[in-house]
Subunit: 312 residues, 2 copies
Amino acid sequence: MDHGGHIAVVGAGLVGSGWALVFARAGYSVRVYDPSADVRSRVLSWASDSLDELQEAGLVADPKSILARIFVTETLDEAVNGAQYVQESVFETIPAKSEVSSQLDALIGPDTIVGSSSSGIPASKFTAECRNRDRFLIAHPVNPPHLVPVVELVPAPWTSASAVERVSALMRKVGQVPVQLNREIDGFVLNRLQGVLLNEAWALYEDGIASLADLDATIAHGLGLRWSFMGPFETIDLNAPGGIDDYASRLRDLYAGMVRPPKGPWPDEVIRQATEERRAVLPSESLASKRAWRDAVLARLAAFKKQQGLAG
Amino acid sequence: MDHGGHIAVVGAGLVGSGWALVFARAGYSVRVYDPSADVRSRVLSWASDSLDELQEAGLVADPKSILARIFVTETLDEAVNGAQYVQESVFETIPAKSEVSSQLDALIGPDTIVGSSSSGIPASKFTAECRNRDRFLIAHPVNPPHLVPVVELVPAPWTSASAVERVSALMRKVGQVPVQLNREIDGFVLNRLQGVLLNEAWALYEDGIASLADLDATIAHGLGLRWSFMGPFETIDLNAPGGIDDYASRLRDLYAGMVRPPKGPWPDEVIRQATEERRAVLPSESLASKRAWRDAVLARLAAFKKQQGLAG
């Protein structure tokens, strides 16, 4: 890209709406479609509120002109017709992804690429039957995509290299940080890294080693600080005098020794306890306002990183 | 605490020197000892440079008066005599830790507590023979401790509850964030959480799923952003409409399915490849300056979190 044409956003929940902001913020004309009239009716007011937050954080200068680039359409065809790229963010089940992919397959132009926001289901599970399956892939964001820039690009075995390259270039152009997987794997990279950390944190909690709050503090006031601007390999490269190989030779046996035999899924009783601990510090009715707080902090953190030259 | 008396810092490499700053910054008189005259000679100039950095980030107002509270002593006795708390940060081997613990055991007063900066060796491995072993525990920081506030407090089976409580109170008082382990476990909490993530990252790299740089970007521009101010449990609590139990019921099977059978230590050949990738972006001769850059960013990030009310 840029192959001309607008960007289509299909599925306009929180993820899809965030994507609309990402593309509109970068100057693209965006057409948004969702099968639910109720969901469609909320897109623009949500975008407007979020743009105010971005402006407050110093991340956008002219919210009005960005908002003016987002069009909500009444039909899928209107959204997709003439699009250079479709970002699909419908409900994450194989039937839902299969249905929308088949619809898109019939509507897209000869150069259009379709990226799915799927967080774990690989494209091979729902694009096999598509005529244009070489132009379908996964483009998995973190929620909310307009505040957390990473996007995992995961090709199906039949996705063309040029489709991956074009989406990668588009993502860079709009200020996201694409990471490229060479092939499909369950959970992709992001949720595998999150998953192993969560599995260990749940196990430590189950074993009574530390409280939920203390396990959280170990990340929020410890490991997470370096990881907010350096990855784990860069971190260990700087953590031994001779670099990453020096670190590995000192510590790989320690880390190998910590591996647990596989446990099953997190047990019901442990989840119940954890829920009690969480609800004691954050009642259910405050979840929504805490999410808004999180997004406001992420916006200010994004502004901080930009100002420090760390935005990727 | 405060039980009166100064703070002793024993072992004055980077970790010990960082600890000296932590206590002096909070108003304590600090006596620093290291058996190496060479190491001792570098403490004050390092502290002075680091204080300039903290001042630049807006984290301290009066570097000179802080520096004036740090005294380097010629003997261990001078450092420890009359101390209310000893932070020990000598080389991390069982013989070195045993030797210094036995020396400290003979020198400390009746109320003195000794915390070891050990990152993985539990106190039971080197304090069993101490007469005052109920006042020895682990107080493990992240490097550098004056920029990353978390401290793991890990009691040996014979550490008294009051010793843990006193160190916890002291750590809060000096602006650190203590997390308390209920009992010893290999790697404690912090390095277990880091370890599982590193093990998975190395495995993904070994399998050719993604480049080292892209694995790093997944954290630095993705997972690490939320984790820099929220722990993993708080993160998932906000990541499903109904909170942590809703999240768990949706995703625990996915995460259970990702568990790998234990692999051995990271293989030599993979470490060699990773080292090549890292040295191509950061030559060996630039490691030291990159570490200084990391610390400067951590200082500015700490200032950002303080200003946002996120400092813990």
